[in-house]
């Protein structure tokens, strides 16, 4: 069949070129349509016996991993002519406006002060979780509180408390927890004071010297999600540009910034390396083959990448960018098959060309050098990471196309 196609296209080179262009366009469209995931989770092992993915997911759910801290302060306080009170008012105004601008869906909440007005009922919460918090020492303390003398003293204390106006609000708590065991749970929080230098007078997140204000933003975007992090940080910058005066500096501290910096560096390096390598390979092809058709030898396998990515996406709706990257590297291996075809059939006036084509299209699979990579991929297939599994799929799909295609364009 390949021989017939070869004969047909040998006499219809324009049609072949048109078909090739269509193939490239379809590949580009396919590539652009594939929903790419730039998330480190795709590379984490999820096989039985490993807890890395679970641990990483739990880590990402930790509150600190979903916070963005924005520090607001004046660029150079020496040049500011206005008073410290004016400066503080402006800083506070900027913080308030910034919080208003940071809205859903990217941001769950933004606060410039501790949420003291919310009725958290910490005592009730601590009482509920007390069985999970108690230590041996705590059990001893509880035992001491359960002596007759201690209970009597505590009841007298509670009765006195009920006589005061404060007793109006505390009666319900007293009935629920007369021994005030919640205080034992609270003792565990004593060392946990993340806002030890917050200004209690102003009730805002203000530094001890009053020159810095803090905005704390909560988000659902995970720190491993590069695309989400990029949107998130862009949203923060938009809000800062629209709400914060130019003389106030906003410093962003967030795990998402770290993720973006890493991703940008890696992507930049990959672009440089892959761009340089592609250009170098193309030059080598042109130099060694000494024909403009070397361009096809190089580009046709490369064009298969988009279609291969779509084929992978049918199995995995979201394809990791890393998978596509590795798939492209594996795909480059299939180029040597196109080279075999090219060198075998070079020269249209060569005798016995039809036999060679038939031989090529019907030879046993173990004679095809490309198939050894399928064997190699059987190793990749059984590898414990989802990422490598995806890479294998990408390669299989791409080499399936890339392996059969060269004979179509060779002329």
């Amino acid at each position: 069949m390949i021989g017939k196609l070869y004969t047909f296209f040998a006499h219809h080179t324009r049609l072949l070129l048109l078909g090739y262009l269509c193939f490239v366009v379809v590949s580009i469209i396919c590539f652009s349509r594939v929903q790419r995931q730039e998330n480190i989770e795709a590379l984490l092992p999820d096989t039985d016996g490993t807890t890395v993915r679970r641990d990483f997911n739990l880590l990402q759910q930790a509150p600190f991993a979903r916070k963005i801290l924005i520090d607001l302060h004046y660029a150079d306080t020496e040049d500011i002519q206005s008073t410290a009170i004016d400066n503080d008012n402006k800083l506070k105004q900027a913080a308030v406006e910034l919080c208003k601008a940071l809205q859903k869906p990217l941001f769950n909440s933004a606060i410039y002060a501790p949420p003291l007005s919310k009725k958290h009922r910490l005592d009730k919460l601590l009482l509920q979780v007390l069985p999970n918090l108690v230590t041996e020492d705590d059990l001893n303390k509880i035992e001491q509180r359960l002596t007759d003398k201690s209970i009597t003293g505590q009841l007298h204390k509670l009765r006195d408390q009920l006589l005061t106006p404060q007793g109006w609000w505390s009666k319900r708590n007293i009935r629920q927890d007369p021994l005030q065991l919640w205080q034992i749970g609270a003792g565990h929080l004593r060392q946990l004071n993340p806002m030890s230098k917050a200004d209690r007078e102003q009730l805002d997140f203000v530094s001890a010297d009053g020159t810095h204000r803090l905005v704390v933003v909560d988000t659902s975007v995970t720190i491993s999600d590069v695309v989400g992090s990029r949107q998130l940080i862009a949203g923060v910058h938009r809000a800062i540009n629209s709400c914060v005066p130019e003389d106030i500096v906003a410093t962003i501290v967030s795990g998402h910034m770290y993720t973006l910096a890493n991703a940008d560096t890696i992507q930049h390096d990959l672009k440089v390396v892959l761009g340089t390598a592609s250009a170098a390979i193309l030059l080598i092809f042109l130099f060694l083959l000494r024909s403009w058709r070397a361009l096809f030898v190089f580009l046709l396998p490369a064009s298969v990448l988009g279609i291969a990515a779509v084929a992978v996406a049918t199995l995995f709706p979201v394809v990791s960018g890393i998978t596509i990257g590795f798939g492209a590297v594996l795909l480059g291996i299939t180029v040597d098959f196109t080279l075999h075809v090219y060198f075998s059939l070079r020269g249209s006036d060569k005798p016995g060309q039809q036999q060679q084509l038939r031989c090529l299209s019907s030879q046993r699979s173990d004679q095809l050098p490309g198939l050894q990579y399928y064997v190699e991929l059987s190793i990749a297939w059984s590898a414990p990471t989802g990422g490598i599994l995806n890479d294998g799929n990408c390669f299989i799909f791409s080499s399936g196309f890339g392996g059969d295609a060269p004979s179509l364009w060779h002329g």
Binding site: K157, D160, T164, W169, K171
Partner: protein
């Protein structure tokens, strides 16, 4: 027979579960004349000093809890509330800050109303009674009159401010210049009655009274 049972059930529900219904049944809306009388009398009050006796009726105790103390107020935002028997405990308020003390602890502890929600709510209530601040009361309560001489107001908290409170009964002095007694009825049936006596209106009050705990 069944109808009687249903009727008794309804009465039982109305009396025991919804005490507000009974109070509301005896209450008429606050007439403008009485409102003006209270406002005018309160306008002339600059200082107040009173002793008080408190009776607490709590379901967790068989007997009523008795206590007594004294109360000082100076317009616009100074207040001292202290229990003297059976336990020494109290607080002073001066603007948005204050100090509180208890006999078991030496000295006093400063606090700010902005940071202490419970004290802030207590201060609001006490200032409203002392000032007879009907504007503030209108914002937080539905005000009715249960008797006209002496004037007794029934305050039903608006839904969003309900909390533990079912209703308040505030009885004024015969000339309506100060509050003579307050009953605080809670939603679980418990209530507290505070009777003010030996009240002195516009007497001279030493500024130290509103500063801190007084030395024994």
């Amino acid at each position: 027979m069944a109808a009687i049972k249903i009727l008794l059930s309804v009465v039982f529900f109305a009396v025991l579960v919804c005490p507000q219904l009974l109070v509301a049944a005896e209450t008429v809306p606050l007439p403008a004349a009485i409102e003006q009388q209270i406002t005018a009398a309160a306008h002339d009050v600059k200082t107040l000093h009173s002793e008080f006796a408190q009776e607490k009726y709590l379901s967790i105790f068989e007997e009523k809890l008795l206590s007594s103390g004294q109360f000082y107020y100076q317009r616009p935002d100074k207040l001292r509330w202290e229990l003297l028997e059976p336990v020494v405990s109290g607080f002073v308020l001066n603007g948005d800050s204050g100090k509180r003390w208890h006999q078991s602890i030496a000295g006093s502890e400063p606090f700010k109303l902005k940071q202490d929600r419970a004290m802030s709510l207590i201060a609001e209530q006490l200032f409203a009674w002392a000032k007879a601040d009907l504007d503030w009361l209108h914002k937080h309560y539905e005000i009715g009159v249960t008797q006209q001489q002496p004037i007794q107001l029934c305050l039903l908290p608006l839904a969003e401010n309900n909390g533990f409170l079912d209703h308040l009964l505030i009885t004024f002095s015969p000339d309506a210049s100060y509050v003579a007694s307050v009953e605080i009825h809670e939603s679980d049936g418990d209530y507290t009655r505070i009777n003010f006596k030996k009240t002195v209106v516009n007497g001279c009050i030493d500024s130290d009274i509103f500063a801190d705990r007084l030395s024994d």
